[in-house]
């Protein structure tokens, strides 16, 4: 067996060159997980449950196609890898057969920008921030701003149906795709631009987007871009409670004035956001100190202490009556229209009792828009864990969903939430939860219990288990419950594009 694998490795070396094939321990360790917090907990406690056998870095689609051919011949498991910023374990190598990571970071070029049709042709290994910067320099924007923009790739966005912070204006990544190119699990190179949607009545892109590497490797895509907006306005409002704020967002979205960014924070999240302002005014109190420490500078000892008692923290947070903060950014190239949207949204906010908080909270959000994710390691270093959960449903159920999910996890983790990614028909809720336990077993037990309780509730209430992080391993079981008989639809796609099950085995509904 080992001798056979040595032979396989040699065939990959002759294809890619020695430099681009690795089984060095540092690479094996690096690629054994993505940013799924459950695996981060494992690493923290020195538990390494999974490891890949080989890492490959192809440079073009021909090399990818050949890798897939060899994998088919030897029944290997291929795990496509972008930047490893996924938070659901989609790239964790769990298969019992040899796991081959195919990292496409070498394929990171902008192939073409059609400035007349506003279409960007880009390779899937391109990282978000440099890509956006290059477009900005020419006066354009992709309009995709996930909080992971510094460390996530186009391929990862497509694989997991990513959403950026400006989705209210530009849509989710799947809304931007004109066409894509992929090597399927049976080694075929497909380019969906060869198939006009009116030929077959449907958009084949949408069958590949969100497939998380289980059907093939997406290696490039044509995406709609936009003119960089010249005009921007910032607004913030404070609502008495979540219900009032949600009514305002719904009405704004249904009147086409929802803006580029619209976010509503629950009481605790608002308290923290507004707390910074008060700190400058030297109006500290103990409660504020507790919560601000979670978000900003804190000592590990203090953090350990507060994370051990989530019930107490959550009870304290229930005492906050300051209200719920909404921030709105409007942007565009027609100044009158941008102003009109701002004024109309202000009228709607006032209708629901929103108190004008000025530009400052919205401007501060924009300044710190990517920083929150980079504060999470502090919690892990302090022996705790933190994770985020993004669920979505229609407007008529959104508030109830928020309270129900909160109810079932508040004894296990400290939590706060905001509402973002709003649409005419519904919205997403983004929970952040944190907790800790003394040892590995207790930590994963508590972590798993939070997810199970929350997602059981989500399914019971007819909402979706994921809005933009994807499924990976973490939500696979609940996705199965969510879709029931429809698992056969995934099997149809698998049979069509990856009949030998060599692509990311064990993910979604495929065999390990």
């Amino acid at each position: 067996m080992e001798r056979d694998f040595h032979k396989i490795k040699k065939s990959f070396i002759s294809l890619l060159g020695e430099r681009w094939v690795s089984d060095k321990s540092r690479d094996i360790t690096f690629y054994n997980r993505d940013l799924w917090p459950r695996e981060v907990i494992s690493s923290k406690f020195g538990v390494f449950r999974h490891k890949p056998d080989l890492i490959l870095w192809p440079k073009d689609e021909k090399e990818i196609a050949e890798i897939v051919r060899i994998a088919n011949e030897n029944r290997l498991n291929i795990i496509p890898f972008g930047a490893g910023s996924g938070v659901c374990g989609a790239t964790v190598p769990t298969s019992s057969v040899q796991n081959i990571i195919v990292d496409i970071k070498r394929m990171n070029r902008i192939l073409n920008v059609d400035y007349q049709s506003l279409i960007l042709d880009v390779e899937a290994g391109a990282i978000g921030f440099p890509l956006e910067t290059q477009l900005n320099n020419k006066g354009f924007t992709l309009g995709h701003f996930p909080s992971s923009i510094y460390c996530s790739s186009v391929g990862g966005w497509l694989a997991a149906r990513s959403a950026g912070q400006e989705s209210s204006k530009y849509g989710k990544i799947e809304d931007m795709v004109v066409s894509l190119r992929a090597v399927t699990g049976n080694g075929e190179i497909i380019d969906t631009s060869d198939i006009i949607s009116s030929d077959i009545g449907q958009d084949l892109n949408q069958l590949f987007i969100g497939s998380e590497g289980t059907l093939g490797i997406i290696y490039s895509a044509c995406l709609n871009i936009s003119y960089l907006p010249k005009f921007k306005t910032y607004s913030s409002y404070l609502f008495k409670n979540i219900g009032h704020g949600l009514n305002a967002i719904r009405e704004m979205m249904q009147n086409d004035v929802g803006g580029t960014v619209i976010r509503l924070y629950d009481e605790l999240d608002s308290f923290i956001a507004l707390g910074h302002k008060k700190e400058k005014e030297k109006k500290e109190n103990i409660l504020k100190k507790y919560f601000e420490d979670l978000n900003g500078d804190f000592s590990d000892i203090f953090l350990k202490r507060i994370l051990s008692f989530p019930q107490i923290l959550n009870s304290l947070s229930n005492l906050i009556t300051q209200g719920c903060l909404m921030i709105i950014l409007h942007s565009g190239n027609e100044n009158d229209y941008v102003k009109y949207c701002q004024i109309t949204s202000q009228k709607i906010a006032e209708k629901y009792g929103g108190r004008d908080m000025g530009e400052e909270p919205a401007k501060r959000w924009e300044k710190n828009r990517y920083s929150i994710s980079y504060k999470q390691p502090r919690i892990f270093y302090a022996g705790g864990f933190v994770d985020t959960m993004e669920i979505a449903t229609t407007w008529d159920r959104i508030e109830e969903l928020y309270y129900e999910v909160k109810k079932v996890i508040q004894d296990k983790a400290f939590l706060m939430a905001h509402f973002s990614h709003a649409y005419q028909d519904g919205c997403s809720i983004y929970f952040t939860f944190a907790s800790r336990a003394e040892n590995y077993n207790d930590a994963v037990k508590r972590y798993d219990a939070v997810w199970k309780n929350a997602l059981d509730t989500v399914i019971k209430m007819g909402a979706t288990v994921s809005h933009h992080h994807g499924i990976g391993i973490s939500k696979a079981e609940h996705l199965r419950k969510q879709i029931g008989e429809q698992t056969q639809l995934f099997r149809i796609l698998k049979k069509t594009f990856d009949p030998n099950n060599i692509m990311n085995r064990g993910k979604f509904f495929s065999e390990q």
């Binding site: 506003l118 009116s198 958009d203 027609e334 979706t464 994921s466």
Partner: protein
């Protein structure tokens, strides 16, 4: 009758499921009007290793007539969603919505032409485009589908505004159609009824200017209700671009539209149509024979215009806008019946010089069953 089919038929009758056996075709026909009937059929299908068919084809021997949820329509105005039984007509739903100040409102030309079209029919034509790219085609507006799979199981997709839960199963359902399922219900996004739609008409000698104006409106995100563009019956008259915009107490887009279109070299003219005329014209045009569809990226507007100009010198070509999106658009060209094939082939040869930017499709291939695309065929094959 085949022994297995015979036993299956007997069991259906024992279960009280409405069915009959046709001696002529050798097939069993089942009719279900409630979900309980489907639940009775499923274990029998499993036991006798049979599958349902929703179309009477050579390979099918158990055909299901699905009559579930015939006339159910409900409106969730808070979330702007309509849920309808598959057999309800679009007209029924639209009338109900209009009474509540709402509308389906996607401006799909062929739908507007048929008053008896049901939601099940509409699902089969889900790719018919909207004349407003903000609204996308129907498949981009479907939020949920309920139906029966060929193994007799019932399903209902989750209804959420957006998901990151794998490939888009709704697209797959629509793609595979009756090869995979029979719909019993559908949930779609709806819109507010805007009574005050004004129309601006523009004209230019050069159709290129009108295409460019359309592109400019789309790329600059000017929020219009719909756009239509067509060559006139009288070949000496210039082509026309008509823009519908809302004036219902909201932002007045009129000046923005006029400025954008004028910048591309087209002039405002007296409005020649009202909304009903536009709707009826599109419905009429889509029924015309000998049509081809040319899909072009905005950057190839000049080339497409040249192609149309070149062929217009010899024959009378009528064309109209069929869809427009953010980076591209498509027009339909009505060719003379004689010699249709020759002209089509010549245009095809010209278009193929710009492969990637301009594509030609034959409109006769409107049914996905007739299209021999390898990927499509394989997906259908995988359904069996």
């Amino acid at each position: 009758m085949d022994k297995v089919l015979n036993e299956f038929f007997e069991r259906l009758r024992d279960e009280g499921v409405q069915s009959h056996y046709s001696i002529n075709t050798g097939k069993i026909y089942i009719s279900v009007s409630k979900n309980e009937d489907t639940d009775k059929i499923r274990p029998l299908l499993k036991k006798y290793r049979l599958r349902l068919s929703f179309i009477d084809s050579a390979n099918s021997n158990v055909i299901l007539e699905n009559r579930i949820g015939e006339n159910d329509i409900s409106v969730n105005s808070e979330s702007m969603l309509l849920t309808a039984g598959a057999s309800s007509t679009i007209l029924q739903a639209e009338t109900m919505l209009n009474n509540e100040g709402l509308t389906i409102g996607y401006y799909f030309p062929p739908v507007l032409a048929s008053e008896s079209m049901t939601f099940a029919d509409w699902l089969k034509n889900s790719h018919i485009p909207s004349l407003n790219y903000y609204n996308r085609d129907l498949s981009g507006n479907i939020r949920g589908i309920k139906g029966i799979f060929t193994d007799g199981s019932r399903f209902e997709t989750i209804n959420a505004p957006r998901m990151a839960a794998g490939p888009d199963v709704i697209r797959l359902l629509l793609l595979a159609g009756q090869n995979l399922f029979s719909p019993t219900g559908v949930t779609i996004r709806i819109n507010k009824l805007k009574n005050d739609i004004n129309i601006l008409s523009f004209s230019s000698q050069k159709i290129k200017n009108l295409f460019s104006a359309l592109a400019s409106l789309a790329l600059k995100n000017v929020r219009i209700e719909f756009a239509t563009l067509y060559t006139r019956e009288d070949e000496h008259s210039d082509p026309v671009l008509e823009i519908g915009y809302n004036t219902n107490g909201l932002y007045d887009f009129k000046n923005w539209i006029i400025r954008t279109v004028n910048n591309e070299g087209a002039s405002l003219i007296n409005t020649v149509s009202d909304y009903k005329m536009i709707r009826d014209r599109l419905a009429h045009l889509t029924k015309s024979e000998c049509q081809i569809e040319i899909h072009a990226k905005y950057r190839s507007i000049g080339r497409l215009s040249d192609i149309l100009k070149q062929f217009s010198q010899n024959v009378n070509l009528k064309s109209y806008l069929y869809r427009y999106e953010k980076g591209s658009f498509s027009i339909r060209v009505i060719l003379p019946k004689d010699p249709y094939s020759q002209i089509k082939d010549n245009i095809l040869a010209e278009c193929s010089k710009y492969r990637g930017d301009i594509r030609l499709t034959e409109c006769s291939k409107s049914s996905s069953d007739e299209i021999p695309l390898p990927i499509y065929s394989r997906i259908i094959h995988s359904c069996s």
